[in-house]
Amino acid sequence: MSENIKKEIFKKIKIASENKTLKVNENTQLIGNQAVLDSNSLVSLCVDLEDYAMKLNFEFDWSSDKAMSKSFSIFRTAKSLTKEFIKQKNKSK
């Protein structure tokens, strides 16, 4: 299940980036200097992930202090985002 979620999130990152040649991996940076997303596409991704979470019967909170913290942001990399998404899913059980 976790692997499926990871694949789905990576797919959504690629769609949000609007870069058809982008190969998303765990180290893909979502914010910061090497970011593949700009602020608008980050918001689009968040809304998309909210909808995905609803399908999986939980609420994905992307606007918490932690999510937006500079040093610990869940949006640092594709891996950190996936990890937080799965963590919130497991917590909701």
Binding site: S39, V43, S44, V47, E50, M54
Partner: protein, 225 residues
């Protein structure tokens, strides 16, 4: 669906009634919904959590949100020096943070709907710097600048954000002002007359209409200043 905060009375109520008359689907939000005869939820807009709960309900019902009208507001006409801290906090929490929270939380629903219109409310007290309204006008000055910046942040998503800034309109918010004070404020407008809730409803209708989609980040001063 159009969401209207402050729906139980004053301008918010008048706006809801006008939109219902025009066959819009309206959801009113107010702290007290007992006497609201249309679809409504109890909500204190100064509570991020309460708004979030309503957003979740709307999401689960797959409601399409086309508009958000932030009409909830409180006023306390008093000198800043004689205003208790809790009153100042209430004014800022409801008028400024309430508007910010609603915009933050309802806008993603509009993004899903590929666009929408947000209408915030300010006051003539901002450009006039009226005596006895310093805290109220400070909260609304915040709403005006939030409107300008937020409009830029969501324009990519086809969401227009504007702000209506009326002069003295006949609602409960005027109860702290004398007729002399009201006349004095009106005399400073470009169009020297007291406008009515119906004039504000007309502006709301215009801003919700697709034909006004070239307007965003604007402060519409009713009567002109």
């Amino acid at each position: 669906m159009i969401i209207v905060t402050g729906a139980s009375k004053g301008l918010g109520r008048a706006i809801c009634e006008r939109l219902l008359e025009k066959k819009f689907e309206v959801l009113g939000l107010s702290r007290n919904v007992k006497e609201i005869p249309f679809s409504s939820y109890s909500c204190d807009v100064s509570s991020y959590e309460q708004i979030k709960k309503i957003v979740n309900k709307l999401k689960s019902k797959k409601k399409k949100i086309a508009g958000l009208i932030n009409a909830a507001g409180i006023a306390s006409m008093n000198l800043a020096l004689t205003t208790p801290a809790n009153i100042s906090q209430n004014i800022i929490n409801t008028n400024l943070l309430g508007t910010i929270y609603s915009c933050q939380l309802f806008s993603p629903l509009m993004i899903r709907n590929k666009g929408g219109s947000v209408i915030n409310f300010s006051t003539i007290a901002v450009p006039l710097g009226l005596k006895g309204e310093s805290i109220y006008s400070a909260s609304k000055a915040g709403v005006e600048n939030f409107t300008r910046s937020f409009a830029k942040e969501v324009s990519h998503f086809n969401i227009n954000v504007n702000c209506i800034a009326p002069g003295p309109i006949k609602t409960n918010l005027l109860k702290g002002l004398t007729q002399v004070q009201i006349k004095s404020i009106i005399s400073k407008q470009i169009i020297v007359k007291q406008f009515a809730p119906t004039d504000i409803c007309n502006l709301v209708e215009i801003l919700l209409d697709q034909r006004s989609n070239s307007l965003s980040g604007q402060i519409l001063r009713v009567g002109g200043v």
